[in-house]
């Protein structure tokens, strides 16, 4: 059997603004393998969360086109009842904000138990309760029996996020989608939650899609990384390649804008991420942010190029890119 767990082909997710549809995820293709963490990095407006919601089928008002093959089923074009069988069982999601992701009026235990009721109806009440207690212990919350009877507002943010994780892993999913799972948390809690996700992945041999804006988190967690800008993947590579030999101007700019050892001045990307309606649909979407690079450097219809095995970069501008404070000759490098 193949190692491939998820294969997305030409996914386009569009939102309606006024009477027109605008693609927030624009022609995205990627794969996730078993026992692999795929990091998806991007800033707000890059379409990374819209991508996650598309995989889970959670968009209620968007138009989703393309194929999302989970194992052999196209879950982008599937009956709701069949999708509900997969969601929460084979595919699960960890949400960003632990403060709002739980029902405020439902006991913690009941919220975890619900996903068991839905997918393992054969369990007895006792078995179910035992399993919930086991899950609460698994995400390292002390006094599980007591927490079972509590309500979300009685727990701290870090504890709630662990409950959200307990819900996601209750049925040992093969594919786990984590959408900014630690953004709302303190650093020490973040480290614990990330370690927890990694250990679970190792135990269950699952595939993980980790969506984040934090390059540090990606460096810590991911096996492969996809960088998204304005709805598209602009670069995808294994984690070492991406951090040691980043090629796309956006990836390089992003890496230079985080404080690092011996860095005096942070790099600032010019301009702003265009809104969905104003996004240029033709040509290199990053061109406007690097106006000093000659126009001829860009492709007319930028595509992903495989510059080395497994390393894809969109548009040809990467081979002509240099930072404005560096000399042009020194920085032109690449694989041409």
């Amino acid at each position: 059997m193949s190692n491939k767990l998820l294969e997305i082909n030409n996914l386009r997710t569009s939102f309606r603004i006024g009477d027109k549809y605008y693609a927030a995820v624009d022609d995205v293709s990627l794969t996730v393998n078993k026992n692999e963490v795929l990091g998806i990095v991007g800033e707000s407006g890059s379409g990374k969360s819209a991508l996650a919601f598309s995989i889970m089928g959670l968009h209620t008002k968007a138009r989703v086109e393309g194929n999302i093959f989970y194992k052999d089923q196209d879950i982008a074009n599937i009956a709701p009842a069949k999708l509900n069988k997969l969601r929460g069982d084979d595919i699960a999601m960890i949400f960003q904000d632990p403060l709002t992701a739980l029902n405020p009026l439902m006991k913690i235990g009941d919220q975890i138990a619900e996903t068991l009721i839905l997918h393992k109806p054969e369990m007895s009440q006792k078995q179910r309760k035992d399993r919930v207690i086991e899950l609460i212990n698994l995400v390292r919350i002390p006094r599980a029996e007591y927490v079972y009877e509590q309500f979300p507002h009685e727990l701290s943010g870090g504890m709630r996020q662990r409950i959200v994780i307990a819900i996601a892993i209750a049925n040992q999913p093969d594919l786990l989608i984590a959408d900014e799972p630690t953004t709302a948390l303190d650093v020490t809690i973040q480290a614990q939650v990330l370690d927890l996700i990694r250990e679970l992945k190792d135990d269950l041999n699952s595939g993980v899609i980790l969506i984040t804006h934090d390059l540090g988190v990606v460096a810590e967690m991911a096996d492969r990384v996809a960088v998204m800008y304005a709805g598209q993947i602009v670069e995808i590579a294994d984690v070492h390649t991406l951090f040691e030999n980043p090629l796309h101007p956006y990836t390089r700019s992003l890496l230079n804008s985080v404080p690092a050892e011996g860095q005096d001045k942070l790099h600032v990307i010019q301009g702003v991420v265009p809104s969905l309606q104003k996004l240029p649909r033709n040509g290199c979407r990053f061109a406007a942010r690097i106006p000093w690079v000659d126009e001829s450097a860009h492709e007319e219809n930028p595509e992903l190029h495989e510059v080395e095995p497994g390393h894809f970069v969109r548009c040809t501008c990467y081979s002509h890119f240099y930072f404005p404070d560096e000399s042009k000759e020194a920085q032109v490098h690449g694989n041409s």
């Binding site: 303190d186 973040q190 370690d195 460096a219 804008s257 404080p259 942070l266």
Partner: protein, 310 residues
């Protein structure tokens, strides 16, 4: 001489309970904090949620009432002057965390930035407009934006409007409470660079409050780590990052994700080790209530909260 001196600052919030809603106890949000900042320096206050770092900043500027302790600005005691003291209001300004909610959505940029000017300086309409345009230019926004409303700007631009408002009166000290944590990485860079630039230009002093150690390391000269209202460690950047003494600091430093994926395994091992040490030696570093001890000097610049020896 230090521009800001804080001595044994305590901020307590009452806990009300019972049928008559009487104060039964206090939450010690800030429990005996002392520090001083030299003119032109950036002092970082680091801690996790609930550590009291924000409350400390708010108490210094007079937004929280002080239970006990002393705050001096330029040698003058300003402890209970509150916000009414006009000299303090002029010289000490604050930048808030959330650029989306700290600007009044119904006011134009002109009104937002000129508000402090109107309070302190009698300027004619044209002078005022000119000043606001100058300020906008300093923060890198086009002077034409004076008639726009906050929602017409991106998060980073809004934060810069907040900064323009803060520097309008040429303050000496700026308290920056998580100024970039609501912003995207690339926008963060923009705001941080800008804060450094105006610091040099205007000889500003910053009290920089943040939970992000990476940013603090980039911005600050000295830092203090807070935990449950008390200091656990204070020192220069080198002291804290290269030679952390307190277990809590070690835990915090080891939790920062490393940007180099090759260090992943090493980081994970260090984290596990520190976690073990934290669990085993918790009682050596914290008193019976789980709070930090008083600070003991380990070098001229480096103070650590440890039980007194002997």
């Amino acid at each position: 001489m230090a521009i800001l001196e804080v001595e044994d600052l305590k901020v307590y919030f009452p806990i009300k309970a019972g049928i008559l809603n009487r104060t039964v106890d206090h939450v010690k949000a800030v429990d005996g904090v002392s520090f001083s900042i030299e003119q032109g320096k950036t002092y970082g206050l680091v801690g996790e949620s609930g550590s009291g770092k924000t409350t400390t900043g708010r108490a210094v500027i007079g937004l929280e009432s002080i239970y006990s302790g002393k705050v001096s600005f330029n040698g003058t005691d300003i402890t209970n002057f509150g916000r009414e003291n006009s000299a303090l209001r002029k010289d000490v300004q604050m930048i808030f965390q959330d650029p989306y909610s700290s600007l009044n959505p119904r006011k134009r940029v002109l009104d937002i930035i000129s508000e402090p000017l109107r309070n302190f300086e009698k300027l004619s309409k044209t002078e005022e407009k000119k000043r606001v345009q100058e300020l906008l230019e300093i923060v890198g926004l086009s002077p034409e934006s004076i008639l726009k409303y906050p929602h017409e700007f991106s998060g980073g631009q809004r934060q810069r409007i907040g900064i323009a408002r803060a520097i309008a009166l040429k303050p000496k000290l700026i308290i920056a409470d998580e100024p970039v944590s609501a912003l995207d990485v690339s926008v963060q860079a923009q705001v941080l660079n800008f804060m450094q630039d105006i610091q040099k230009e205007l000889n500003l002093t910053y009290l920089f409050i943040s939970h992000d150690l990476g940013i603090v390391k980039h911005m600050c000269d000295d830092i203090a780590i807070m935990y449950k209202g008390r200091y656990v460690e204070q020192g220069t950047i080198t002291d804290i990052f290269n030679n952390p003494q307190h277990i809590y600091t070690k835990r915090l430093v080891s939790a920062i994700p490393d940007i180099n994926p090759r260090n992943r395994e090493k980081q994970y091992r260090i984290r596990q080790e520190v976690q073990r040490e934290y669990a085993n030696s918790f009682n050596d570093y914290f008193d019976s209530e789980g709070l930090a001890y008083g600070l003991q000097p380990v070098s001229d610049t480096h103070l650590v909260a440890l039980p007194e020896r002997g």
